[in-house]
Symmetry: C2
Subunit: 256 residues, 2 copies
């Protein structure tokens, strides 16, 4: 009974407060390390640090002043169609490889990295007034840099996930998903394992990086300045796979 | 400092082992209550119980023996096209209001309840051999019944979410989402609140029920017989909204 109890999967998730307002050029790993030290929070091996993409984008200078953008005539025309700021549309178009849908005031695009999302991930909320925040250029690499830094500070194996909020085609409400990952396999692959009836599972790979990002959002809040959370107790598979490796390829895409 | 620490959002999630194999007619609330008592797990006010839909479907007798189904000629023809069992296709069609996509061996449909998912949620994994499990007929109502039972047993306000695993259009890997909810508002609505720069947030309602379902999956596992988890510490909004109220309406759907 006691033995069973110890083996019951259990995780905890807590946010890390105390980060300053992030500026271009800041070393995120160092700032997060300092916030963790101030908290007196003992980091443990296999802890997963989840960061909202916004602080990563700010640290990497991926912030654009809207009034310094000269919208093209295409951007002006689409802005009118969509009821949005022409400068914002110009920035979105520069981040866009392919328009997936433009309808009902919505612009769903595929970014140059292959991520399908609203407005190519360009966002004005939680940015300084008159500013737009872009996605990190390579969020897997951003995650890797923060991970290296945190592992150096804390001396143990850790994982890092960079998250963003996504709408979904058939459901209201946004959820946080992973756009970059380091040290953790983004998919928990059950294929080949057997279900309770002894049948081999066919199509069951779970999107753990996404589920972890969603779980972390529950302690972040949109208005509380809590852009970092630590998820502890996960028995995840360590590895170097990139988040971008599980963006679906066009030949399997039913919703192009 | 200590005060700050106490206010830091923190949640814990643990699975509840010890449930028997569920049979039609079982009272799930009662069985979960017994499993919780055996664990010596002190239930607290506002705990969220997350249940995989499969045990709910089994308790409600939503299980069909494949060899008792007579597939129509349409089902036989689609089964050949999709490389699936004709009886399974027949069951899927009976659960389907509208076919969203049928391509590349995939069948994405809208159920009579308005849920868009693969195979109308009909599933053979973790079912007895030769059996298919259907979604609960009304998962919000199922959640409500389990909640009533658990609140009676434990004497405090609780919430219940029923989850299922969903594929996503542009990402590999499944994630657990909410298909039924009781006692918890499925959307955490930040609209009207101000962001860090003092700007009113426009379009930010977070899909908390979905994020909680995803978080709970992290301690459930597909092959471990752990269909129930408890999420503790969430400052969720109590309320009687139904999960089906946030399935997107057809006039807003860009991916019909």
């Amino acid at each position: 009974m006691v033995k069973d109890f110890l083996e019951i999967p259990k995780i905890s998730i807590q946010s890390i407060p105390g980060l300053p307002e992030i500026q271009a050029g800041n070393l995120l790993g160092k700032l997060i390390g300092e916030a963790v030290h101030k908290l007196n929070f003992p980091v443990q091996v296999k802890d997963v640090f989840v960061l909202t993409h916004k602080i990563v984008a700010k640290a990497e200078g991926r912030v654009i002043q809207l009034d310094q953008v000269r919208p093209s005539s295409l951007a002006r025309s689409w802005a009118q169609e969509l009821g949005k700021d022409p400068s914002l549309i110009e920035i979105i178009l520069s981040e866009t490889r392919r328009v997936v849908r433009m309808d009902k005031g919505q612009l769903i695009t595929e970014t140059h990295q292959g991520l399908v999302c609203a407005n190519a991930g360009v966002d004005v909320s939680n940015s300084a007034p008159g500013m737009a925040t872009l996605l990190p250029k390579n969020a897997d690499l951003s995650a890797q840099k923060v991970r290296d830094h945190l592992q150096e500070i804390f001396g143990c194996n850790l994982a890092v996930i960079i998250s963003d909020s996504f709408g979904r085609p058939w459901r209201e409400g946004l959820v946080n998903l992973a756009i970059g990952v380091a040290g953790l396999m983004p998919l928990m692959d059950y294929r080949g394992e057997k279900d309770n009836a002894g049948r081999v599972l066919q199509a069951t790979a779970m999107g753990w990086a996404d589920e972890i990002a969603s779980a972390a959002e529950l302690v972040m809040g949109k208005t509380m300045r809590l852009p970092v959370a630590v998820v502890r107790g996960l028995n995840y598979e360590e590895g170097m796979a990139r988040c971008s490796s599980f963006f679906r390829s066009s030949d399997k895409d039913l919703f192009r």
